[in-house]
Symmetry: C2
Subunit: 196 residues, 2 copies
């Protein structure tokens, strides 16, 4: 809305876009102070500014990707585009064949350089795109190197320390949610069942 130049928005309009009740929108926004103007609505630029600050997105976060396989490269190219507050500044991998590979504005470097990269580049966050078996070890490595948080894409249970919060993304969950939301009637064929 802001990028389209709209100036004001009502809780009613927001509720339609976000699929929530208008009362919910107002209750939530009121938590941040009196942001709206009665009879008028909310100032979009003001909302964006306030929310950006509350969500701590008013500062830059520098990231390093660990594991430059299929997913690591895709993420680097994606986040590398500088989505808002986030920039990927480096990617590391233990596989020498990947060293020097160009992705999203930087080249892949050896895993051993991690600590140095974090220090020199002022890295804040780590992204794990390594095999599940290497997830815990990689997390520990990132923490030792000094990152302040880690986003994990490996389907593994990783033990985290409070100094470096961990957030895990398991894409399989989305597939499961999708099939659960499917209309009941005719279910698909069962030719490809496999019990892992």
């Amino acid at each position: 809305m802001a990028s389209q130049g709209t100036e004001r928005v009502s809780s009613q309009q927001l509720s339609e876009r976000l699929d929530l009740s208008a009362a919910q929108i107002r209750k939530d926004l009121a938590q941040l102070g009196e942001l709206g103007i009665r009879g008028v609505g909310y100032d979009i630029a003001g909302l964006v500014e306030r929310l950006t600050k509350v969500l701590r997105l008013d500062q830059g976060y520098r990231m390093v990707v660990v594991g430059m396989g299929n997913l690591g490269r895709a993420l680097s190219a994606y986040f590398g585009f500088n989505h808002g507050a986030f920039v990927v500044v480096a990617g590391v991998d233990p596989d020498p064949e990947k060293f020097g590979l160009d992705v999203g504005g930087f080249t892949v470097r050896p895993l051993e350089d991690l600590a140095q990269i974090v220090r020199d580049e002022g890295v804040d966050l780590g992204v794990l795109a390594v095999p599940a078996s290497a997830a815990q070890e990689s997390y520990d490595r990132l923490v030792a190197a000094g990152v302040r948080g880690v986003l994990n894409f490996a389907p593994a249970q990783v033990q985290a320390v409070p100094q470096a919060p961990l957030k895990s993304v398991d894409l399989r969950i989305y597939l499961e949610e999708l099939v659960f939301s499917l209309p009941e009637d005719a279910e698909p064929d069962s030719s490809s069942i496999s019990t892992e």
Copy 2:
């Protein structure tokens, strides 16, 4: 647990693994009938079987990936490994340079073949890995081709029809949640802010 050969589990043990209260586990599982045995706990094989059925994961789902860029190829290789009930059977792209490219057990085919592929291969689900600007169009195409549900990775608001539920995954949210969970004290540098 099942793959490790463990036979039984108590609500207490589950609560520790899942970070929920034991009472919560019991209340939830009791919804599916009396699955447990008092004084003993739950039979793991039985639980897996019951949950698999309830979540409709007891049947195979065949998928097609639309958009064979960085993410599409990564996802194909990932899901192509046949995670439980899911198999990627095809990938399509409008870019002729990508035709014939080999990923995760199949080759990339032209976008125009989509309808035919869905019909011939008995595809149930579609995966959107296209630019945001092409998301709606691609969703419509998938629905017209006959898929029963769509998983979308493009950061776009797509209008869905009830016959083909849509589930969207926005990875940026995870980054935002991660920085919000960071310890308050010293926030990182602000040298790389950009307002998109």
